[in-house]
Assembly symmetry: C2
């Protein structure tokens, strides 16, 4: 199962000007695709911060998805950050430059042309005919911050990411986490290929604990779930 990290770039999220829609969307999309999203970072528009985050995520995970910071204004620093992460320069990509000139005509000023400046070695992954391609540097896929464009471009290239979806089971009990902790630990040891989560819910009366059982092997999921149901006082959901 491929692993991935998402890097959400933008002071506007951290300062509360806009809510982040891209992290939650990528969570759901990765789950559907069977990509193991291992971290999400929301970071500010600073070249060195972007470079550091991209460098570490690129070496730790199969894919890195960045969102935001690729427009023409002074606070758009993602491409500079990615270039610095890999110690390469930016250059004007001829295909992108042509696209910008064709699309914008006389409005393609110097600032607009910044959007054609890409890290040396970047590939263009083709998307639907009318959309800009996705820029890919090594294993880093660079997406816009505007949710509808991120989503359209991600879906255009999703079949290149591989992945095999997980299945999830869920149990609910009114026992406390302390009461069930030993049982969950034994299950986690007995079925190491299964991921078991425990989440207390205090908004229910009486309080409940949701137990989640995730994995790719139906046999292990069934066995682990049945064993837990035998050990715990679970309720139907």
């Amino acid at each position: 199962m491929p692993t991935a990290a998402a890097i959400i770039i933008g002071d506007e999220i951290l300062s509360g000007k806009f809510d982040d829609e891209n992290g939650p969307w990528l969570v759901r999309r990765c789950r559907t695709l069977g990509i193991d999203l291992k971290r999400i970072s929301i970071i500010s528009d600073e070249v060195e911060t972007i470079a550091d985050e991209v460098r570490r995520a690129s070496s730790a995970f199969d894919f890195v998805f960045t969102t935001g910071g690729i427009g023409p204004t002074h606070d758009d620093l993602t491409l500079e950050g990615v270039a610095r992460a890999f110690g390469v320069a930016l250059y004007e990509h001829p295909d992108l430059a042509d696209m910008i000139k064709t699309r914008m005509g006389d409005a393609a000023n110097q600032d607009a042309m910044r959007m054609a400046m890409v890290p040396v070695g970047a590939e263009l992954w083709r998307t639907a005919p009318k959309r800009f391609p996705v820029l890919v540097c090594r294993n880093v896929l660079i997406f816009p911050g505007v949710p509808k464009y991120l989503q359209a471009k991600f879906d255009d290239i999703a079949d290149r990411l591989g992945g095999e979806p997980k299945t999830s089971r869920r149990l609910v009990t009114e026992q406390t986490e302390s009461e069930i902790a030993a049982t969950l630990r034994r299950a986690a040891e007995q079925w190491p290929e299964v991921a078991i989560g425990s989440y207390p819910r205090f908004e229910t009366d009486p309080h409940t604990v949701i137990i989640t059982i995730d994995g790719r092997s139906q046999g292990a999921l069934d066995a682990c779930t049945e064993w837990l149901q035998a050990q715990l006082r679970t309720k139907s959901i």
Copy 2:
């Protein structure tokens, strides 16, 4: 202005089982308090991952807020991660052990007592009388993952964090980002104490760009905002 990082710990967010409410809440709360929230990381329940993230954030920012992973079950690894970040052991804190025994009585089994195991050197910051104190290791404040408990405990200790709120102005234009990029860059150079953001909105017709102007000096904010209004074709909001 103090800086801070939030570390949201929990596979349940990354796998899409639960939405993260704590990141957005901390964004709004830090803004109100005048704390400069510089990054949010959502990471999985793995001791080494937690240790690495805590270590880096602790050295880079004034405060680090962790949420999640402090219950009694096998997937609660935050305290172990924080201890490893600082190269210290866990020990049973006598005050916390007493509180757990008083509160839980006979139900205070070995797993419940795990919640009293804290990194050597941890302080307890007192909260409202009936609540557990906030555990603080160096500059790392450790909060629960359940939103209502995080919020109550954070508000109990918020006056110890300092901070001086920023003011924000906002302009809207129908000019494109490429058209206005040079003007924004000149403003950013002329008023370096002011942070200028540019956010295209494609859901409006015609498309618009929101320009934000943030800072602590009213004089600089006024001057920068007036200069931008004179240079750009802005609309009233």
